[in-house]
């Protein structure tokens, strides 16, 4: 375990400090946790891509209903399989850290909630979102009438141009007036 910390030299550390919202200790801790997920024979942690099902074993992501969406959003792999490199992992932690700005958090929250990746939150996206939050099984979800009433209310509160969907600006506008968002949108290792 002693060799892992030495692979992250001072230059890279300060570069990561500049490019993310993480502190030095948080970056080192992230590297340690990332290296634990690497397969044994892999020595260079910085360029390897960890597959999604390994990332989802992390206790911080395991119980999260949005874990798969989070991996898909932060992954920069060409095959869109949700695998994360160390850079992606740091991006993830930076967006979820204490000191990230509201704009960053709301931007990534929008992308996470946009299940069909079409750039807006439509009725299907909102329905999937509600089901993720409440559990999704038959006895833990709302009835269709309740769902319709709920989504109508959400759209009434957030859809300003009345086009039936919530785009990024409207989402960020709603979030800027939501006092709980910053404290709940947080993952700390």
């Amino acid at each position: 375990m002693g060799t892992t910390a030495s692979q992250l030299d001072k230059g890279m550390l300060s570069e990561y400090q500049e490019l993310t919202f993480l502190t030095k200790q948080e970056i080192l801790l992230a590297y340690k946790r990332f290296s634990e997920l690497l397969p044994k024979e892999e020595t260079n942690g910085l360029s390897y891509r960890i597959p999604m099902n390994a990332i989802l074993e992390l206790p911080e992501l395991k119980t999260n209903p949005f874990n798969k969406r989070i991996c898909m959003v932060f992954s920069t792999s060409d095959s869109h399989d949700g695998s994360l490199s160390f850079d992606d992992f740091l991006d993830l932690l930076s967006a979820f850290s204490d000191s990230a700005t509201l704009e960053i958090k709301s931007h990534y929250a929008f992308r996470i909630f946009d299940f069909d990746d079409d750039g807006t939150l439509g009725r299907q996206d909102l329905e999937k979102l509600v089901n993720c939050l409440t559990g999704g099984t038959v006895d833990t979800s709302l009835t269709p009438e309740e769902m319709k009433q709920l989504i109508d209310n959400i759209l009434e509160e957030s859809d300003i141009d009345k086009d039936g969907t919530v785009n990024l600006s409207e989402f960020q506008h709603v979030i800027s007036r939501s006092p709980d968002f910053v404290s709940s949108f947080k993952i700390v290792l």
Binding site: N64, H107, S141, I187
Partner: protein, 694 residues
Amino acid sequence: MDSVFNIDIREHIPNNPLLYQPPSYDSLLYRRKSSTVGSKRRSSSRGRFGSFSSVKSGGSTIKRQDDIEKSLLEQRAVRELAKSMKEKRAVRDQRSLKAQDLSDWGQWRRNARRCLKRLKDNAEDRLSSLKLWRSDIRQIEARFGTGILSYFSFLRFLVVLNLVIFLLMFCFIMLPIIIIPYTSANITQNNQDHGSVCSVYPSSTRLGLVIFHEHITDLLSGGGFLEQTYLFYGFYKVDKIQYPNGTYNLALAYLLATIAYLLVSLIWIVKRSATGFKQNLVKDEDSFQCFCNKIFSGWDFCITNEKVADLKRSSLLYELRTDLEEERMKQEKAKRTRKDKVQIYSLRLILNVFVMAVLAACFYSIYLATTFSQEQQRKQVKVNFIMDLIHEYLPSIVITLANFITPLLFSVIINFEDYSPAFEIRFTLIRCVFMRLTSIGVLLFSLWSQITNCGDEPCLCGYNTALYSCWETRVGQEMYKLTVFDFIIIVAVTILVEFPRKLIVTYWKSGLSDWWGEQEFAIPQNVLEIVYGQTICWIGAFYCPVLPAICTIKYFLIFYVKKLSLIQNCRPSTRPFRASSSNFFFLGVLLIGLSLACVPVTVSVAQINSSRACGPFVNYNTSWEALTASVMELPHGAQTFLYALSSEAFAVSFFVVSCLAMFYVIALAGAHKRVISQLKEQLVMVGSLQHLQV
């Protein structure tokens, strides 16, 4: 800002992407900043490189340099861009290429700025690692969510606040007295002989053979050997101290330290609540955007426990269902007939009168208990150890009983009053807050009526000397007893009630355990408990300068007791308490406590005659006179200035100016509201026009 109003829809089917954005404060700021930089906000696509508009320079290189520097300054830091790491690196490289166009001086400035920023980040990092209980609070957050976390960070805030208040009192009041033997200083003692009756202060230390349990009684009641110590006001029988370097007016310092700690508490609480205040006061939080808040900010991403996640899901479901039902009920309520309304209102009136009667009964019983307790202490009736303690603690016991029964009563009554669920909770809380904090006031009032009551004749020294040779110490002792008793009750309830409850519910399945259920960590009641303790501390710190230190230790221990209780005995509540509203609620209740605490302190400082036999204000009629006496010694200019500040002319003009400011702000808010609705209509119109065009 003007361009917003002058947009002509017919001419400008706009390429202006900003019009697609709703008017939030952020977009206003952003528009001011981004005149040189192109749009960074993607409206509907993701992951593309924001285009930089190239800096078009007019002529001279100097202007070009300024432009470059300005554009580099106005751009956000690289890490604030919502891009992947690779893209951020590319942006950063591009910027440093551009920066090379700057002169050496410009580059040096840029580098210096970056170094400073890095230093600041490191310093903040270092500071935050020093915060008390960081790992404990993180553990709680992971298991129980942000609502309960806010209670514990509130507790941490109170520990630090009490420590600061104690340091204030220590440095200005106790330290000068402690260092007297080490510096060659003289004390101007207060040896007034006027009306020798008034300045008699019999020693209360026990003489002869002292039985052990009497020491315990003394420790718990602040009497006996504790009475004439640093603990209480009576010990500080010093007016001025003559040091080799100068004179230190201890009486004035005592008074000013009291005012200072009240002001420090006020400023710190207001500063801490400043962020939550804006959002929570602007709109009634529960009805505004409540669905969006629950859906978009509903999930605590820091939860790591599977069981807690399941519970969170079910509580979210429950909340959503209740809110939807409440909305349906609201629509039904609008259809309420006149007869129904009259019925409901008369029922509410009756119930409110009943609540007031209950409160009056509680206050009267507190009054009776206080007078009885004081009589017993005066008569020095010694029945036995336990009865003595009960007599001493009778007011505390009655207050605690009242504070235990009334919330249950209120929560039963509110069910009949037919309010919306959110309002129910809030109203019950307001009633409980009122009950808790006014009971202290009633206690103090009954104490004072005893102190200033000399039977039929007017009091010789302004207070009842025969019974209270040093009344401030007596008040301090009562506050001390309240604090100690409060702490004992909290610990005792945790050990003797919550722990057995957990055992019963876990190991003995029966009807009782099903009905009683597992303990939930009820945040509002817990918060009221500690605000109550803090109010006592604020009132008592004037009479008992060591009380803040005792409260610091008390809250320190309560943190661990509550944490233990939370982890061992409690399950997360089904009705989640949201973090933001909690912050505002806690600090709001604390402010109410602070303002209630200021009243007794002000009255006793300004109205009631200070003791002749003890304390720093022996030479003055009331404690406030110490300040007026020192003001008289100031130079003439300062005197006139201070008198002008306290005159009526100044007060009236200050009041008028603040009223004008308030009206201006209200008018501004109304104007903003109108602008917002206008802009929303424009947006809808533009959107529909676009659809027509396509």
